[in-house]
Subunit: 427 residues, 2 copies
């Protein structure tokens, strides 16, 4: 691990630098597959499923029978855990509902704002060794609460042409309306254009490797919205002597096991805490099945000593961490003054993995410094706000003159005229 003492502000940019990816080659591949899917639909999806996932599928749509079968393959313990997590996520996202905002801005001028669901959304769930059923909870639960009509889930099949039972179980439990066995670039293209099997959606959510990430970016060129730009997952812990070094080390490692490009940073005003955490990390690391991955991420990680809380805070706001654990005596100072972070975990008994799975908060969060301007996924991610206004005869007489003056000053005579005609009719 890299220990850095009192970095100068001028060096913060370098100290906090994230790994960058080159995407030019991937873009070419993505553009090609997008064009093919647009012209050939399902045929192209199947072709690339054979090429990338090594399986020939007759039917990509998951059937009722497959869902039923999956239910019996998931252990009761895991089912109960998933239900508990779902219930907490529901409680927290239900609480995010907002009422219609209505005001009479001037007498006779009533304006209101209402949120309405995005009608069709697509969820992408990666395949691979770890079946990320927890991400289904994080996306499908708020989509269902928001009232999205069509909730399509795409996930790549294994070599037997199957999806992991936990994925099917969670998707069915959380209100997904259609599950399609297709992954990668071709899945994103399918949801962008629609095919015989996949409905075209208005917004695509979910994580993925760099191919999926670039595909989601390209999808926005075709009028589809995405949850947020993606980057490698990251965790910043701020800890002083009130923290537990073993707990902090376990949190850093739980981030590090995600991937070799995961970002792990400890900021501390205590040199002894930094040393203690370093030691704990080395010990705990040896026990992990994903040790090889975690080791590489840890090698790139940073332990940063700063002189005082203000310096630490400024550094943290400059970084804008996705996950942010606060284990310090003076926790209110950090909570109140951190402007740039995705999700904040406070105190010694709040591991990041609580928010990853079951506390109720969402785990789809802005990485790569995007916490400076993006929210994590929340109920509003599945809604859009529309405004309404109704003006009566009195109302147009109250604000009509101002509109006429402003429209004229902007050189827009027809805008003025739309008001003048109405005012004249009331004379």
């Amino acid at each position: 691990m890299n220990k850095i003492y009192n970095p100068k502000r001028a060096d913060w940019k370098d100290v906090l630098k994230r790994p960058t990816q080159t995407v030019a080659d991937i873009e070419r591949l993505v553009n090609g597959i997008f064009e093919e899917v647009r012209s050939n639909g399902d045929g192209t999806l199947k072709k690339y499923t054979e090429q990338f996932d090594k399986v020939v599928l007759e039917n990509m749509l998951v059937s009722e029978a497959e869902i039923e079968a999956a239910k019996s393959l998931v252990s009761n313990d895991l089912k109960e855990a998933i239900k508990l997590a779902k219930s907490n996520i529901e409680v927290f996202h239900n609480a995010q509902k907002t009422d219609r905002v209505e005001v009479e801005t001037a007498a006779g001028v009533t304006c209101w704002q209402e949120k309405r669901p995005i009608q069709k959304v697509g969820l992408y769930i990666p395949g691979g060794t770890a079946p990320l059923f927890s991400t289904i909870l994080m996306l499908a639960v708020p989509a269902t609460i928001a009232g999205c009509k069509e909730i399509v889930l795409c996930s790549p099949p294994d070599k037997e042409g199957k999806l992991n039972p936990a994925i099917l179980y969670a998707a069915n439990l959380c209100g997904v309306t259609k599950i399609v066995k297709v992954g990668g670039i071709q899945a994103i293209a399918g949801m962008t254009f629609g095919t015989e099997t996949i409905p075209q959606v208005y917004k695509i959510f979910g994580p993925g490797n760099q191919y999926v990430t670039v595909a989601k970016q390209i999808a926005t060129k075709y009028g589809v919205a995405i949850d947020m730009p993606a980057g490698p997952s990251e965790l910043l812990v701020v800890a002083d002597d009130s923290a537990n070094a073993a707990f902090v080390a376990s949190d850093l490692l739980s981030q590090a096991e995600h991937g070799v490009d995961s970002q792990v940073i400890l900021v501390s005003t205590s040199k002894s805490m930094i040393d203690a955490v370093e030691k704990e990390v080395a010990q705990q690391l040896e026990e992990l099945p994903r040790k090889e991955i975690a080791k590489q991420a840890i090698a790139n990680s940073k332990l940063i000593y700063v002189e005082n809380d203000q310096e630490a805070l400024d550094l943290i706001n400059e970084y804008g961490p996705e996950h942010y654990i606060v284990c310090v005596e003076n926790e209110d100072f950090y909570i109140e003054n951190t402007y740039n972070a995705g999700s904040v975990f406070i105190g010694n008994y709040t591991p990041e993995s609580a928010g990853d799975y079951a506390s109720g908060t969402n785990h789809t969060l802005p990485t790569n410094g995007y916490a400076k301007q993006y929210s994590g996924v929340n109920l509003d991610s599945f809604l859009k706000s529309m405004t309404f206004q109704k003006i009566n005869e009195q109302g147009i007489q109250n604000i009509g003159k101002a509109i006429e003056l402003m429209a004229e000053a902007e050189g827009l005579q027809a805008h003025k005229n739309a008001v003048t005609l109405r005012l004249n009719s009331l004379k």
Copy 2:
């Protein structure tokens, strides 16, 4: 105008087609200027200001003296109009504030969501013949209410190196912290990377020509967020025999005068209303100073007759209009069941220009069908929501087991371990 009777659903896509633009050439130009601004900062900004705006500027930053001078150049009537509009916009956007959402999802597990301001935002205001000071109100007022720390405004200077006094007056009135005389691609690049004069911002708002639009898209590649993707402005009116044909025509024309590529659509269940509006449009058009622009937009416009309200509604939801005027007897049916629209104007005395200027709603709205998945600009556009959680000893014991099971099922042992360590410490 193109009259279309009872279009078949299969043809809706064609009937509702918007004009498309090719941007490949522009992208090349934008990428070049971005690279130059990134390396050379202010020097490049000045070079392109000389090239595109035909003026050599010593200092791009607007001074206090310039702002003071502008105040005396704006008529008192216009100042009063701007203040009235500002007050209504403030009332409506203030009402959009939300409280922190806090729930104890399980005993000992407290989760909350809080919105915090995006610290640095950039506003782009186009130059040209019409000084769009109204857009400053629409962007700077909510930015100020949200609590954004730095609100930078860029707008291209005229050949004397000046900005329109109404722009300076409105910017100063609404809390803009820095006004810079620079426009076009170079302004967007400046806000993306920061230069000696322009601070780097986290999110860029505001309209612009296609160069600015592409520049904003490219800016997102460098980690800057934008308000929304842009397209030509558009209006859809649904009207039956309860509407006033002259009013409807004036609204269609106020949209049509924006540009030759503006979109204007009338949907009606009344053939006589369609004919009456067509006649009124022809008459009113002759009186307009921007007649040549409006004429071309009107030539591409559509008057669509449909048999019944349900058919009209489905067509409207398929189109997803930016501006949407509802002048029908059965207005509740349309208001309740329209899912895809930016801003809705209801009744005979609610012209679109009311919302463009002074009623209080925002006029920065999703065009090009983006109302299906994007909100118009609102208070939340300047905030991001962060989540927080604090779990105590009891809380981790309540949800710890579920986290362990789920982490293990996803193959993430270190995630499990972060919980196990804590649970063991409490044994």
